[in-house]
């Protein structure tokens, strides 16, 4: 589960601070800071770089006991080729995409509807229902795996996309975030539309949603990342390798490729790539999302 919150004011303040700082001249102290930061950042990247480098080595060079070279002595795509020949990596990638997309679309749809209902409409029992939904924020999904598997099994959804996706759609925290955002949108905007006779769905679609772009993006991105990286639930509910998601397939099946390190690292690189790309594209929203709410 993930939570996000845009933070308009903080981001406005930041540039000002940056300007202030950038006028400071380079002193020995700040040179040291820059050097330390740079070295640490480089160090932090070592595991990824090492995996990348290994993945381009021929299997013989990658195997243990070989001298350690930071760059392949001989560049090779052997690891990647075998991976694609096996085919399962592609299957898992597709499964992950399908499941994460279902989760994201459904989460957005259901949570937007519910948040609007809680924010703009009054109905009997609303307080109680909202209270029950909010209480769900505290429930750790890991503590539910046992009975949840039983429920999903009774629904005959084990080893299906729906069984993988639906339990992940339950994200009460998203409702909380969206409702708070909707609450803060001035009613004046809707008034005109209401007077024109627009129903609530129409107001939601043509007034509220256009104003909610950033928050929807943030909720969407975080839901997608969360679903893509979820491990425990798919581990339980995807037993058949043809339905496994990428993290589970890599963890449960691919580990057994054994001592083929170039191939292992190739699958690691390919496994990391989709979300690294997502991260690079949406870096700003993600950083703001984490910073704003303090939660994932």
């Amino acid at each position: 589960m993930t939570a996000v919150q845009t933070r308009p004011e903080a981001s406005e303040r930041a540039p000002r601070a940056v300007k202030r700082r950038s006028r400071i001249r380079v002193t020995p102290g700040s040179a040291l800071v820059y050097f330390a930061a740079f070295v640490l950042a480089l160090l932090w990247l070592v595991p990824l770089l090492w995996a990348l480098s290994t993945s381009f080595k021929p299997e013989t060079e990658a195997s243990l006991g070989q001298p350690i070279h930071w760059l392949p002595q001989e560049w090779s795509l052997e690891g990647y080729r075998t991976l694609f020949e096996r085919g399962d990596h592609v299957t898992w990638m597709i499964n992950s995409t399908v499941v994460s997309t279902i989760v994201t679309v459904l989460t957005l749809a259901l949570c937007v509807l519910a948040a609007y209902g809680f924010s703009r409409l009054d109905f009997p029992g609303k307080k109680i229902v909202y209270g029950v939904v909010l209480a769900g924020i505290m429930v750790p999904s890991q503590a539910l795996i046992i009975p949840l598997f039983d429920v999903v099994s009774a629904l005959r959804m084990v080893d299906t996309y729906w069984g993988l996706a639906l339990p992940q759609v339950v994200a009460p925290v998203m409702i909380f975030i969206l409702k708070r955002f909707f609450d803060a949108i001035p009613r004046d905007y809707e008034e005109a539309a209401r007077i024109d006779g627009a129903g609530h769905l129409r107001v939601l679609w043509s007034v509220i949603l256009p104003l909610s772009g950033p928050i929807l993006a943030a909720v969407g991105i975080f839901t997608f990342i969360g679903a893509w990286n979820n491990f425990l639930w798919p581990l339980l509910v995807a037993n058949d390798p043809s339905i496994m998601t990428l993290p589970v397939g890599l963890g449960v099946v691919a580990g057994g490729y054994g001592l083929l390190y170039a191939q292992n690292m190739a699958s690691a690189v390919l496994g990391a790539l989709p979300l690294l790309i997502v991260f690079l594209i949406f870096q700003k929203q993600i950083v703001k999302g984490v910073a704003g709410v303090g939660l994932k």
Partner: protein, 440 residues
């Protein structure tokens, strides 16, 4: 899985930490189908735990099956033991998983056949060309639960005794025809080991010290020992158990076998001549053959030595089961049973290649198989094989052999003397007896 009872392809703890953790690769079809079953023709999903060298033989047989029948067989090999059985049970409980799976017959009852497996009709088998008469009754009877057939046996496999002919010849323990001298009793066999140890300079026999359960059960059963479990306790013959454990203790103490050796080291010690004999499962034959081709290893195999008056050995059967399905597609069901029949009818390769003794009598009775070497030399294991105790926590890869095996690893290493070990395994057994039975 610190000390699993050394299965084919078992991993040491270190191997785990080094990333060869869970299951082995996906099967053969390699056709990249996305959610199973897409694309023309029938798809049969098969799950197995044959991560060892026998897995390669199975893969070849699968390719032949697909070629002959046009059925798309998608096989998945999971890590041996608990990971496999966990996935099997969870998949079966969900009802959308594998169409057919290989299990150890000793685990059949622990899989709660009535709720987690689909029964097989005799008529289906007959239609596919099999006949109940084609199996020995004692194995066939084990495939039933509540009078319904839930498994079809593929083979019998057991601990056997491999010997390096070059070393054993130097040690003077071969018959003129090149077979290993037959010994009677612990002392005679130890003498043989001492002679071999003199040649190798290291061990007489290289055995898997993590697989103590298998050795214990073989030697305990050679003395007619029984281990019977009741609701609230069990009966174990202390003297006979102590005899078996003492054999381990003395063998390691005298350096006739290694103190610590996992599956990989055990095989390697035999290959590189550190041990002139090795007691492991018949499935290692593929590995030793490959080594023979690569670097030369003149070896043969015989039955478990006579320690206590006979040559009984610990073993099990691989068998096919049909995990529970929410619904069966008639074509898939038929293709699945055909697959089982195909594997049995072609199990000559399974015996010749993987060293297992086929359960299908038309194969083992054939002159071709009778002449097969070295299988003929240990063909007696089928009559001498001893299955694990009949209780829900016993059977291959189950908790009893796992945890008892850990105690025996301590006996080999010298940490547990026989009396301590006996007390420890009784503790382990008592703990398990007290567990609520989740099966029935």
């Amino acid at each position: 899985m610190r000390n699993p009872p050394s299965p084919p392809g078992a991993l040491s703890r270190r191997a785990l930490l080094t990333g060869t953790a869970a299951a082995a690769g996906l099967g053969l079809a390699g056709c990249g189908s996305i959610t199973g079953g897409i694309g023309g023709g029938t798809t049969v999903k098969q799950w197995n735990l044959l991560a060892g060298s026998d897995g390669a033989i199975m893969t070849t047989m699968h390719e032949q099956f697909m070629e002959e029948t046009g059925v798309d067989l998608k096989a998945t090999t999971f890590a041996w033991g608990t990971p496999f059985y966990t996935k099997l049970v969870m998949g079966a409980s969900g009802g959308n998983a594998a169409d057919v799976a290989t299990i150890h017959l000793s685990r059949l009852q622990s899989l709660s056949p009535s709720t987690l497996l689909d029964a097989i009709e005799i008529d289906e088998l007959v239609d596919a060309g099999l006949d109940p008469e084609d199996f020995t009754p004692d194995i066939w009877d084990r495939c039933f639960s509540d009078d319904r057939l839930y498994a079809v046996p593929l083979d019998t496999h057991a601990l056997v005794n491999y010997y390096n002919r070059t070393i054993c010849e130097q040690a003077g323990v071969l018959n003129p025809d090149g077979t290993l001298l037959e010994t009677h009793g612990v002392e005679e066999y130890f003498d043989l080991l001492r002679a071999v140890k003199d040649v190798t300079g290291e061990y007489g026999t290289s055995l898997d010290t993590n697989a103590g359960w298998r050795q214990f059960w073989a030697w305990y059963r050679q003395q007619d020992g029984e281990w019977i479990f009741h609701e609230d306790g069990f009966e174990l013959d202390d003297d006979k158990a102590l005899n078996a454990i003492d054999t381990m203790w003395r063998m390691a103490d005298e350096g006739l076998c290694p103190r610590i050796s996992d599956g990989g080291a055990t095989a390697a010690n035999f290959e590189n001549g550190a041990g002139g004999l090795v007691q492991v499962g018949n499935w290692e034959i593929t590995r030793f053959r490959a080594f023979n081709e690569a670097q030369g290893l003149d070896f043969s195999m015989t039955e478990m030595p006579d320690f206590f008056g006979n040559r009984r050995t610990q073993g099990d059967c691989h068998a096919f089961v049909l995990p529970r399905h929410n619904s069966w597609n008639a074509d898939v069901r038929k293709a699945t049973v055909d697959y089982v029949a195909f594997m049995l009818q072609n199990s000559f390769q399974w015996g010749a290649g993987a060293g297992h003794t086929p359960a299908y009598l038309p194969v083992t009775d054939s002159p071709e198989y009778q002449d097969l070497e070295p299988n003929a030399e240990y063909s007696g294991v089928v009559d001498n094989v001893q299955f694990d105790p009949d209780v829900w926590f016993a059977g291959s890869a189950a908790r009893l052999p796992d945890e008892v095996g850990r105690v025996f690893a301590g006996v080999y290493s010298g940490a547990n003397d026989p009396e301590t070990a006996l007390a420890a395994i009784k503790d382990v057994a008592q703990t398990m007896v007290e567990l609520p039975n989740p099966i029935d």
